[in-house]
Structures are given as C-alpha cells and as structure tokens.
Amino acid sequence: MAAADVTVPALIEIADDCLILGHRLSEWCGHAPTLEEELALANMGLDLLGQARALYAHIGEIEGKGRSEDDFAFLRRERDYRNCLLVERTNGDFAATMARQLYFSASMTPFWKAISASSNDEALRGIAAKAEKEMAYHLRHSGEWVIRLGDGTEQSAARMAAAVDELHRYTGELFMVSTARLAAIDTGLLPDPEALRAQFDQTIDIVFATAKLSVPEIRTWQKGGRDGLHGEDMGHLLAELQFMQRAYPGQTW
C-alpha cells in the first residue's frame, strides 16, 4: 500500500466529492417533485455520505494523526476541500440535479469497479465493492430521469438541455489527473481516470441518444476544485455544513 503522503491527498478528493454531493442531495429533503423521489434522493444522499464517512475514516487511519471523520468533514478551510466543481454546483431544478447525478455516477461506477478489482489497498477495495453497486443504482436512476425528461414534454426537454449545457463543462474535471491523483495512480492505489473516460463517454452517448439530447462541444473545461479553487456557492454550503462544529467547538454530539 502507498505511503500516507500519497494516499491521503488522493483519497481526500474522492471523499470530498462524496460529502459535498451527498450534502447537496440532502438539501432536496422535503422539496422533491414526488414522494418516490424524496426517497430516491435521500437514498442517493445517504449512499454518498456513507461513502464519505468510510473514506474519511480510512484516510484518518492511514494518516495516523488522530483526525476523525468529522475533523475532515467539518473542520477544514474551504481551500482545503478538494471536491470537483461539479458536485458543489447548486441543485438548480430537478433536471440539473439529475444531470449532475448522471455525470457523477457515470464516472464513479467504472472508477469504483476498477478499484475493487485491482487497487493495492485492501480496505479501499472493500469500500469500492459497496460503492460500485450504489453508484450503479444512481446511474440507473438518474439515467432514467434524464431520458424521461429529455424525451418528455417540451418544457422538460428544454430544462434538461439547459442542465446539460450548464453542467457538461464541469465533467472534464472528473477525469483530470491532479498531482495527488497521479502519485496514487503510480503506486497502484487508484486507476488512471483517463482509461475510464471512454466508458463514461459511452454511457453518456447512449443515455443522451435515448433522451434526444446532444453532447455539447466544450471549448474550456472548468476546473479548480482539486486545487481547492471552488465556486462562490461552496462557501455558503460550508457555512451551513460547518455551523454546529464551528459554533460549538470540541464537543461530542
């Protein structure tokens, strides 16, 4: 297994993706378009928060400095969160939330599959085996909705197209190899995301074709999250997320 200085920054990126997207999904609670979607959105949020928890705990153990899952989740500065920009985007309408979920799960399903098959970190393989199944469900669920909305009414098609137009440019970062990631690929901890990109593209192509959506041409992929350079929504998310831990430091809940 790779040394802590390789593993910790590489896994933080993934854990932060899960935390922030899980948080975003949890914001839907009580506001979903149907009762069935209340349950599904909560389910997906729970999966992601659960993955974040498992990853932070694992990172804390490898790091060996006594940081708990909550220290990672609640007590870092904005610049230290390494999630990609896609997951921090505000929920927007249901179309945007489903497009974001499709993009994320289409990248994470093969990612976790590759890890569970061949990472050199046994504990991470365990996390991956569970996460892979969960993300496959997210992919199926969000893919169905992208199809339903893309090929639904005129209004839903317009909203879905707007969501894709808005979010597609954030998907490049899902496959960007940061310095932290590169080291982890070299040691055999993580798979090369470029190799997974073909699967992502194929998934998106199939879903979009059925949904009557076209894949946008992107001139400039948005990035920054892996360097802690977030968008303006991130700070407001953190103000909520961190509120209790900041206001009542050092207590047990």
């Binding site: 909560a42 609640f74 199809i147 339903r148 059925t210 997320l241 209790m244 047990t252």
Partner: protein, 315 residues
C-alpha cells in the same frame, strides 16, 4: 340494521376487514380521514427535521437524520397506499393537504430551533406517536393495521435515536445540557397535546372505539406516554417543565398541570408559528415539481405506444 350488526360482529370477533369487504360508509370515511391525516403528518413532519439535515453536527448524526426523514417519507407512502385501498387516490389526498382542507398533526407547526430539538422531536414526538400507533397495529382495518406494524417498528427506532441524542447532550457540556433542557421545555407540552383534547371534550371517539379503529381514549394514551417518558427524563437528568407533575400512588399514574388548550386550538385552526410556512413549502415543492410529473407521464405514455425504444436504456 342487519348489515351493520353483522359488520360489528366481525369487528367484535377481531376479524380484519379487508379492502373488498363490504363496510359501512361511516367506517370507510372515518378511516380515510384518519389514515389521510396520518399520512399527511408524515409528509409535513419531514420539514421541521429536514431543517437540520444540512447543519447536523457530525456525519453520523447527519446520516441518521436524513435516513429518519426518509423513513417518514416511506411511512407517508405506505399510508397513502393503505388509504388508496379505500378508494381515495393519492392525488386527491395531496390536493386536500395542499389546499389546507385536510389536517395533519399540529406538532409539526412548531419550529425546530436548535440541534437539541432534533433529539426532542425523536424522543417526545415519535414517542407520543408510537403510543398512538401501537394500538393501531391491531386496528380492525387490515391494510392500515399492517402498515402500522411496519411504521411502529421504525418509529420506535427513531424514538430511541432521539433519546440517545438527548442523552448525549444531557451528559455533554454545560451548554449542551442547556440545549437539551430548553428543547424539552419547548416540546413537552405540545407533545402532550398530540393525544388530542381531553376525553370530556373529545367528539366522535365512541364510534371509533366500537369499530376498533381506536382502542384507547386520548387521556389514557396521554397517561401512558407520561408514565413512560418521565423516568426517561429523570434518567438523563432533565427536568420536566411542569411543576405540578407528580406521581399519584392512588391512581398509579402521574398528575400533571393543565394543558393550554387555547394554544392547542389556535395551532389547530392554523395560527401556529409554522402552519403557513409548512403549507407554503409543501405547495412550493408540489408546484415546482409539476413539470417533472407531467414529463414522466408524457414519457411513459409515449413509451407505451412506442415499443421500439430500447428497454435497457429506458428502464
């Protein structure tokens, strides 16, 4: 007449009434109203607790709270399904909730002000709900009784979880203990009101008792709840906000102070702090989601007509 007597005889034999069985219109109406209110309460109840999901103080608590609120949505689903067996659609019931015509439990018209409220709601509100609901697991109407068995199991888990939050706070820092006590102070009386008016004021409950839709009176259930809850508060060192509360050896029950029925009535008729906000939020979610529901319907209709859409992609 004969049918009513035969129906009552079935009830008295503790036979379950099932959807296709003949039943008196009053029985059906009472059940529809009660199950509907119960379902609406689950749905509206998602809002006060949902208010703290984004601010939960630890990952463990965040996950537990989101899962709890999700369970409430699930209970709403079972209950709407149970009501559907009596011939009212979910749309119809939703419409009644959103227009303000149907009631839901007044407890959800109080705001959740601090994290401790999440503990208090779980402990007291779910605790009171269980007291109401356990007898419903033996309700004469089969689908409702079966839904309640599942609901009660989960509610009792939520109740323990809420109590555990309170215990953690009560055993935490001075400030956390204050949070817990403050939450108890605010939620105690509204929880007692959840059992409804005193038996002397309560209307229409005799018939429900006879039909075994209801099995205990409001005051009986309230007493059970107090008896169960007071020692729990004592165990974690919290003080009940009722100076008149004391054990009455003769009654083998607690005496308690007068409930503020004027407040109860104000909240029931729509004047609680959060009544309007709750309906506004539910209406907004529903209205904002209209285009999604329409699109899903349009898509399903088109797909049904058009079998060449690849099944694996669309499913």
């Amino acid at each position: 007449e004969e049918f009513l007597a035969a129906f009552q005889a079935r009830i008295d034999r503790e036979e379950k009434i099932e959807p296709n069985d003949p039943m008196p219109e009053g029985y059906r109406r009472t059940l529809v109203r009660q199950i509907g209110q119960h379902a609406h309460s689950e749905i509206v109840g998602m809002l006060p607790e949902g208010n703290w999901i984004t601010r939960a103080p630890s990952l463990r608590r965040k996950i537990a709270l989101l899962a709890k609120v999700q369970d409430e949505g699930g209970h709403g689903l079972y209950l709407y399904s149970a009501a559907e067996t009596l011939g009212v659609s979910r749309e119809q019931m939703t419409e009644e909730l959103l227009s303000g015509k149907a009631k839901y439990s007044s407890i959800f018209n109080y705001p959740t002000l601090t994290w401790a409220d999440i503990g208090a709601v779980g402990w007291l509100v779910d605790g009171a709900a269980i007291m109401n609901q356990i007898p419903l697991c033996r309700c004469s109407y089969g689908p409702y009784a079966r839904a309640m068995i599942r609901v009660c199991k989960e509610e009792s888990f939520h109740q323990r979880q809420g109590y555990e939050i309170m215990m953690t706070l009560a055993r935490g820092s001075e400030e956390q203990k204050e949070l817990a006590q403050d939450a108890l102070n605010r939620w105690w009386w509204p929880s007692l009101m959840m059992f409804g008016p005193s038996d002397s004021e309560s209307t229409n409950s005799d018939q429900s008792m006879k039909w075994k839709i209801k099995r205990f009176s409001n005051d009986e259930l309230r007493q059970k709840f107090i008896t169960a809850t007071v020692p729990q508060a004592e165990f974690i060192g919290l003080t009940m906000p009722d100076p008149e509360l004391k054990w009455n050896e003769a009654k083998q029950a607690y005496d308690h102070g007068e409930i503020d029925w004027a407040e109860f009535k104000a909240v029931v008729r729509g004047d609680g702090q959060m009544n309007r906000d709750r309906l506004r939020d539910r209406n907004k979610a529903w209205d904002d989601g209209a285009w999604v529901r329409e699109a899903a319907l349009a898509h399903a209709r088109e797909r049904a007509e058009n079998q060449q859409i690849p099944q694996e992609a669309a499913e």
